[in-house]
Symmetry: C2
Amino acid sequence: MSQWMSPDERQPTQVAQIRQSLQEQIRAGLLRPGMRLPSERALSERFATTRITLKEALAVLETEGQIYREERRGWFVAPPRLIYDPRTKSHFQAMVESQGRAATTRVLQAGPVVANAELCQRMGLAPLSPLLKICRVRSLDSRDVLYVEHYLLPERFPGLLEMDLTCSLTRLYAERYGIGYGQSTFDILPTAAHGAVARALGLPQGAPLLQICRLNLDGQGRLIDCDMEYWRQDAVVIRIQSDPLP
Amino acid sequence: MSQWMSPDERQPTQVAQIRQSLQEQIRAGLLRPGMRLPSERALSERFATTRITLKEALAVLETEGQIYREERRGWFVAPPRLIYDPRTKSHFQAMVESQGRAATTRVLQAGPVVANAELCQRMGLAPLSPLLKICRVRSLDSRDVLYVEHYLLPERFPGLLEMDLTCSLTRLYAERYGIGYGQSTFDILPTAAHGAVARALGLPQGAPLLQICRLNLDGQGRLIDCDMEYWRQDAVVIRIQSDPLP
DNA sequence: TCGGCTAGTTGGACTAGTCCAGATGGGTGA
DNA sequence: TCACCCATCTGGACTAGTCCAACTAGCCGA
């Protein structure tokens, strides 16, 4: 029988059915953005299946960015994505507010470190170069969605650590040091949450993330800093406009 | 005891240990790009755990793009990523070959369709507008890494379906119709494989993918087409350079 | 030599649980 | 009133299997 059916027509798996069913409820607005889903145990009972199977369906919806997790707290319906054009030099707060949403920033850590191998390579530094590391968590409508590690050249930013680091670094660069962005390079790639990132965003280890590594140069082409951004992947869509023809 | 330990120092989970162990072997070059990993059963025995736990570790490595899956065939070590700048107007083949790798293209389907709701919205079309749909699979060093659906305005491309669609559509546009790209818009977001996409790339349902939706305008700002690209997320890194200051 | 069959292996899908750590909220005592 | 404690609930981590469909490789016969 099944050999004559295209894979489309075959009876969908339980995981697919559960995913479909939850998606429908979300699309119909019965499950609204930010709402908590019933517990995994309650859902698995309602769908007459085991927790493992149910969790697989939730994992698919998670990689699609329709729902998100908070470690040991539960599953929630994802709010609309923030539209993020990495090329605009505007800072996080301005970008968020221009889309009618609220932004806050929290500093987790700020201090000198020694560059690791990956950073030396990306930034073209000598081995064991000193750097300033600033770790921040940024939230969208009171939900933590972005963890950033900034790595700055210490010689260009004397006294920076004493300033208020919760506001835009871009503005500090410009106003206090007269340094503005020129060309930047962005590497975008999906990855999984580990260690510090997972803890900062309240994610379980292995949860999907969108990583953006930006390398910023000033107007003269000299390196300013390197930012490692880790976004909850349901919270953002990268939208880029190519240049119109000259 | 554990209450005084930071989460970093705590004994890592089995999943984390297995992930770590496999990653090390890959980094050391003992498991080389393209090589198949031992079967799930063999690995779960070797790590003295169950298949489910083992699969979870593999899933994390998959979302990190260190390994990839072929449905019912097994797990393989991911080759280096292709560097993809969506803003360069160069076509797939040229981009791949400029990085010293081999590209091929296969046409799965080509014909007229009626635009669905999502396409009407993205392309700004009237409901039920007619479109030409071309589905292609593109491979990198003989591995299928990209599934693309092109949706074109039929009135701009009479007779297109009779041409050789395995080569660059960009070139066909230019050489046969005198149409060149102007500004384009890209939406990049991680998603999960379903239906046609999963089948075309030999992925299991729910596998992580990187979706890029591009909307192409011509030099006069008129719509040319909309491409829905689905990349195996281990196969590519998006690298974008912002414009230098004027 | 080559096509087709077949047995064995692989991943896919799923069941039915256990034990634990962290988050939550209600109640209690200062 | 408010801080703290504790019972309860949640997800996290893991075990030990079963059944099935699809892929594979090797054998066999034309």
